[in-house]
């Protein structure tokens, strides 16, 4: 017996050794994928000798944690536009962190009086990260590729509008000529999808390779992408501050940090663990359940910004009982946003009363105040308005009935894609019960939600909409060119939206935005609820100087330094 026990122990030992060996074999090939630690310790201007930092020289690299795995890094083709490409592609003009449009690769621009032609004057001596010179011909090439149907760009129709032609006047002057003026043209010209890259580089590597390792004019360029794992960037040595003269930035030249890595981690627990261990230095999206934990960590700095996404209750305005404006207005007064924000989204939101969010370009404080004053939280007044519309509690069961005795019982749809929707919906359910409306909550699968809604099968629903520009109203509410959601169609609204969509001058455009907003507030096809506060978090013991631009909802790495 004793002997047998000894042997089994020896056996286990041998096996353990075998496992370690197996592990080595299993991972052996992988070590080679790690790029050799290049010397980054020396000064930024000259290459230091490779021998000085041979041993365990830990590479100085900023690691950003991100939950999304990009489908392509070709901005013109991507379905999702974010920091993974905004640090690569520099646009002709920029959206500064104070909400104004400032120069970029173009030192100036003019809009023709009819709004159909925008002329950009390029800076001289622009080079992409590999040193290829950039001239008006490159701009023409980029825009023409973006608008070409063969590119199958998902974002081009939205961002380019009715762009007809790109004309080169000389090496440094280029014109965008529109079939009809496009209201948000300048806002959208600041997007990285309009970022400029070298025709020569694109043609030399081809489309597929360009989508994997884009090199362009932004502060960084992509050196390596292991799909599903990480994207590595190196700084663009030719980058200059004047390519984005946002006043919050101070660094005159290329970014201080030489290497950046985006790590793709989908599981929040894993992400937070890596962040707390210091392996990930910046978090771009923080799961709400970890908000408090991070907030109490002294090594973590959290920078809030307001998402340009409006969460709202939408009504089907062509269907009983919401085809009566008074009913929709009454519900606007029956909803109290305070508990919704406090309990529904853990207080991490700001109440919104009008159709736009402050971080959307074209937002009007005047109309927000108008909406707030028109529909104060007042359940008694809501009940009066409902009574006026014929809804009274005739049998004393607490639920309103109309003159034919039909009960006010409606279905509210929520999407599986909105994690907080269930909690919010229950609060709304309770608040509407107070005024005699019975709401039944129905959960609808995310991917079929908008299809079902656009068929008009719903009564009311909970969802969100968002875009960086007031142009969102056009897409949400135009009777023929918009999506089908609330079926609130009026000719004066269409007219205001069309004018908004074709007016480039910001002050004149504001007039039409306000006009559209007023019709939407008075007609009440929805109850705007809130916009969420999002956070970017970084390890203040590892990195400093990270800045957030609330209008682009993105961060600047230009001034960042590793400690």
């Amino acid at each position: 017996m004793k002997k047998r026990g000894f042997i089994s122990f020896v056996l286990v030992f041998v096996l353990l050794a075998a496992v370690v060996a197996a592990g080595c074999i299993g991972g052996g090939t992988q070590t080679s994928t790690q790029s050799p630690a290049s010397s980054t310790s020396g000064s930024a201007t000259t290459q230091s000798s490779p021998t000085s930092s041979q041993a365990p020289a830990k590479e100085k690299m900023l690691v950003i944690g991100y939950t999304r795995d990009p489908d392509t890094l070709d901005v013109q083709k991507s379905t999702w536009i974010d920091l993974t490409t905004s640090i690569v592609f520099a646009p002709l003009v920029n959206l500064a962190s104070n909400g104004s449009i400032i120069p970029g690769l173009a030192e100036s621009y003019e809009v023709s009086s009819d709004g159909k032609v925008i002329t950009f004057h390029l800076r001289k001596g622009i080079k992409d990260a590999l040193g290829n010179p950039i001239t008006a011909e490159d701009v023409k090439f980029d825009f023409e590729r973006y608008m070409a149907p063969e590119t199958k760009s998902p974002s081009a129709p939205l961002y380019l509008g009715h762009l007809k032609e790109v004309k080169v006047l000389d090496d440094y002057t280029v014109q965008l000529i529109y079939k009809e003026p496009y209201g948000p043209a300048l806002t959208f010209a600041t997007m990285q999808s309009m970022g400029i890259f070298s025709k020569k580089y694109f043609e030399s590597v081809g489309e597929v390779e360009f989508g994997q390792h884009p090199v362009a004019t932004g502060p960084y360029y992509v050196t390596k992408w292991v799909r599903g794992a990480y994207i590595d960037y190196e700084r663009n040595p030719y980058y200059k501050r004047e390519y984005n003269p946002d006043p919050v930035l101070t660094n005159p030249g290329p970014p201080y940090i030489e290497k950046v890595r985006f790590r793709i981690i989908k599981e929040p627990f894993t992400m937070i663990s890596e962040f707390e261990k210091g392996n990930v230095h910046v978090l771009l999206d923080i799961p709400t359940e970890y908000y408090k934990q991070l907030k109490n960590n002294p090594h973590v700095t959290m920078v809030p910004f307001l998402e340009y996404i409006l969460h709202y209750i939408g009504f089907n305005c062509k269907k009983y009982p919401f085809n009566d404006t008074r009913v929709r207005q009454a519900i606007n007064m029956a909803i109290d946003r305070k508990p919704i924000i406090e309990y529904g989204v853990d207080g991490l939101a700001v109440p919104i009363h009008g159709p736009l969010v402050p971080t959307m370009m074209g937002y009007s404080q005047k109309m927000e105040d108008y909406a707030k004053q028109k529909y104060p939280y007042d359940p008694e007044k809501a009940k009066e308005l409902l009574a006026e519309a014929g809804w009274k509690d005739r049998d004393g069961d607490g639920i309103l009935e109309d003159s034919q005795g039909r009960k006010f019982e409606v279905e509210m749809w929520i999407s599986t894609g909105e994690p907080e929707a269930q909690k919010v919906a229950q609060i709304i359910q309770d608040q509407l019960k107070q005024v005699g409306i019975k709401v039944n909550i129905r959960i609808v699968e995310e991917s079929s939600f908008t299809d079902l809604v656009s068929q008009g099968k719903h009564q009311m629903y909970l969802l969100r909409y968002g875009l960086m520009d007031a142009q969102i109203l056009f897409y949400m509410f135009h009777s023929t060119k918009g999506v089908k959601r609330m079926f609130f169609y009026r000719s004066d609204l269409d007219e205001a939206l069309e004018k908004m969509g074709t007016t480039v001058d910001p002050t004149e455009r504001e007039k039409y935005i306000e006009e559209a907003e007023k019709i939407l507030i008075d007609g009440a096809p929805m109850v705007p609820l809130y916009a969420r506060k999002a956070f970017i978090a970084y390890r203040n013991d590892i990195v400093e100087g990270i800045k957030v631009n609330p209008y682009t909802q993105s961060i600047y790495l230009d001034d960042a330094k590793l400690k």
């Binding site: 379905t79 599981e267 707390e276 261990k277």
Partner: protein, 308 residues
Amino acid sequence: MKKGFIIRKFLSLLIPIFIVSIFSFSLLHLIPGDPARYILGDFATPQQLAQLRHQLGLDKPLYVQYIDWMVKLIHGDLGTSLVANVPVSELIKGRLSFTLKLTGTAWILAWIFGVSFGIISATKKHSVVDYGITTLAVFFMSMPYFWLGLMLMLIFGVKLGILPISGPGGWKNLILPAFTLGLPQIAVIARLTRANMLDVLEKDYITTAKAKGLPDTLVIYKHALRNAMIPLVTYMFLQIPWLFGGAVVTETVFAWPGMGSLLITAIFQRDYPVVQAIVLIIGTLTVIANFLADITYTIIDPRIRAMG
């Protein structure tokens, strides 16, 4: 071994693969959701959606789409991702090796540890060690990969800090995900080994061997283990589908860039060609695993050969 047997077996493989391909194709197309909607976003008009569907060939009848896909497949073309606009083979290329590395290591771990714990347990029947191993086995068998992965990460990555938390890298990065995937299999194999060993140890030829005066070690490892392993060999291959299934969750937890995490993303995006390709690859590997199980079984046990 007869040549005909292997050829017949091999041909019979194609049928399940074919069925798998039809299933994966139709299931995905029948659930609601639309890649065109995903690509164009919420503001797309019905006309734009219709146009993109036409461009992508999604407006053709399902059977035509299936035949198109099959024809391409036979020519070695897995198609192009609808969302990423990149050949599917390009997307999968890097991912497959990560998944094989993970499942392969888990598989090796499962056998080395599973068999050794099984032997210990069997030879020390009803001892504390035996009960300990059996209890732990039940525990690990019933743990979901997700929870197991997070716990291992919490203990060895976060608290002790001796192993990397997540992501690809050197062999150290492989340890936690491989054990997460391997532990439930270790448990299963340990229990199977124990049961089979106990069975064999009671056989007459073991008693004879012992009576001959052979040392215990020789009896256990030469006579008993070899015979006890026969039923286990099938499981060696049959467990492979389980490993692939578990890899989907494990890869997500450990940010391991294998096919599983790609599969999940692709399903949400309704990226049909990517999902179909992955399901087909996993299906084919499963079928091949079953085939190998059959073959090895006949090699080890001549009685089956005679009947087969």
